[in-house]
Amino acid sequence: MDQHQPLLPALAASDPELVGRLTAPLTRRAALKGGAAASVGLATALRVASAPVALAALAREAFGQTGGLPAAVVNIFNFALTLEELEAEFYVRAVNSGIVPERDAAVFATIRDHERAHVDFLRRTLGAAAVAKPTFDFTGGNGSGRGPYAGLFSPGGYGTLMAVAQAFEDTGVRAYKGQAPALRPFRGPDGNNFALQAALQVHSVEARHAAQIRRMRGAFSETDPLYQGWITRNVTDVPGANAVYAGEQNTTHAGVNVVPLMARLRPDFDIGQDAVTEAFDEPLTMAEVLAIVDPFIV
């Protein structure tokens, strides 16, 4: 797995231990344990998502004859797996906390099931190359249990719980988006970009989650931009989450600044800079994402 490490240079400097975990293959015991844990969820995954799961099986079979998945795909999928494990355990704990109001219970259970299915898909694709599930500290305290989001699973903590959920979902969207170009070159024997395809199919689901959580936080009233399903500029009221939204105010895409294009539509349409920033989500690099989630990983 040494060949994967150069892809994480920025993080290596800030947290070598985390890099080590992300790039270490599962031990046989951990793999078996992971497999057992995955079996229940796998049935769910097969039911709701036969296509990507079948894709994973095909990819493994195909690459099994040529020495395994390409190293870059392994690296990116393990990165995604760590994020999905974070989200999956977060929602498991949220649902089990007893503080999610009845009205929101179905939404939380749905997202929990989706994140579990993503974990299962990635583990199934990676096989023995999958990293172990980390230990998490959802207070953001790096293992102290006394981080800025302490109490999020306790009575009175529901506002914090939803704020952290939003930050995780919006980070997840940006994380997958950032890896799409790097996944593009890798094709299965049938010529299809199986890795990119699967990542895209997960990416948009994370965006659906993000929109729902954001709107829940505003009790589904669209009067406050903070609680709309889309991101206005780089603003957020989630404390400590500025890095999650950094750069979202960008209006230039592939060399085209979209804001001046709106001028010709006036006076029929008055579409300002805020709306333009909402219309385009921005990627994050792997290092940026890992820096965001680092306080949550023990």
């Binding site: 199919q201 659906r208 895409h253 060399g255 294009l261 579409i271 385009f280």
Partner: protein, 231 residues
């Protein structure tokens, strides 16, 4: 992510020029729009797209035509929400919160459309004519059902088309847009089915639709007959 267009794309466009049957002109207002502050993705070359009367053929071996495919869908969505908001009775048919969502969706889709129009330059397909005869714009359910169809279709279309893009800058842009379409789909689904429903995200994996599936669903709403080859 403001990477300049790659040289490779320029070569692709130039190569495309020799193969395109018809050089497109961009209709109406756009022709007068020569904003030099933008650096369009596409040099001012012909695209792969072949337009013959109402028949538009997009060739997915060209990144330009994959973007034209997205441009076609954004035209459709923008036209739909524009009519939704402009139809008399809009403010009584929808709650203030719903009006806010529908106006935002209109603005976002227009921004997407205008982005593609500018980015594609003279390689853009012409303005499409929409056929919304099957939609009752004065009926709340008809509007919301169509909105959900269009948003889900957009998500599936981008998810299915992404792998045809060879230029990483183009793929990055498609990625920036598809997640916003998914946010739209989530919101509209919640409006339609209730905020406590699981309908906002029906599966752990969104579909990746083929161009044939997408165009078949979009066909009733577009006058032009759009076909995709090499996909």
């Amino acid at each position: 992510m403001s990477a300049p267009p790659a040289e490779r794309s320029r070569r692709d466009f130039l190569r495309a020029a020799g193969l395109a049957g018809v050089t497109l002109t961009v209709g109406g207002a756009l022709a007068a729009c020569t904003d030099t502050s933008t650096a369009p993705l596409a040099p001012r070359d012909a695209s792969f797209a072949v337009v013959n009367g109402n028949n538009v053929t997009l060739d997915f071996s060209s990144d330009v035509d994959v973007l034209n495919y997205a441009y076609a869908l954004e035209q459709l969505e923008a036209a739909f929400y524009t009519q939704v908001v402009a139809t008399s009775g809009f403010t009584s048919r929808f709650t203030p919160s719903e009006q806010s969502i529908l106006r935002d969706l209109r603005d976002h889709e227009i921004a997407h459309r205008e982005f593609f129009r500018a980015a594609l330059g003279t390689s853009a397909i012409p303005d499409l004519s929409v056929n919304f005869a099957s939609i009752n714009f004065t009926n709340r359910d008809s509007v919301l059902t169509t909105a959900q169809t269009f948003e889900d279709l957009g998500v599936g279309a981008y998810n299915g088309a992404g792998r045809y893009l060879t230029n990483e800058a183009f793929l990055a842009v498609a990625g920036k847009i598809v997640s916003v379409e998914a946010r739209h789909a989530s919101a509209i689904r919640a409006v339609r089915n209730g905020n406590t429903s699981s309908a906002f995200a029906p599966d752990a994996f969104d579909p990746a639709l083929t161009p044939t599936q997408v165009l078949s669903a979009a066909r009733p709403f577009v006058v032009q007959n759009i076909t995709v080859v090499n996909a």
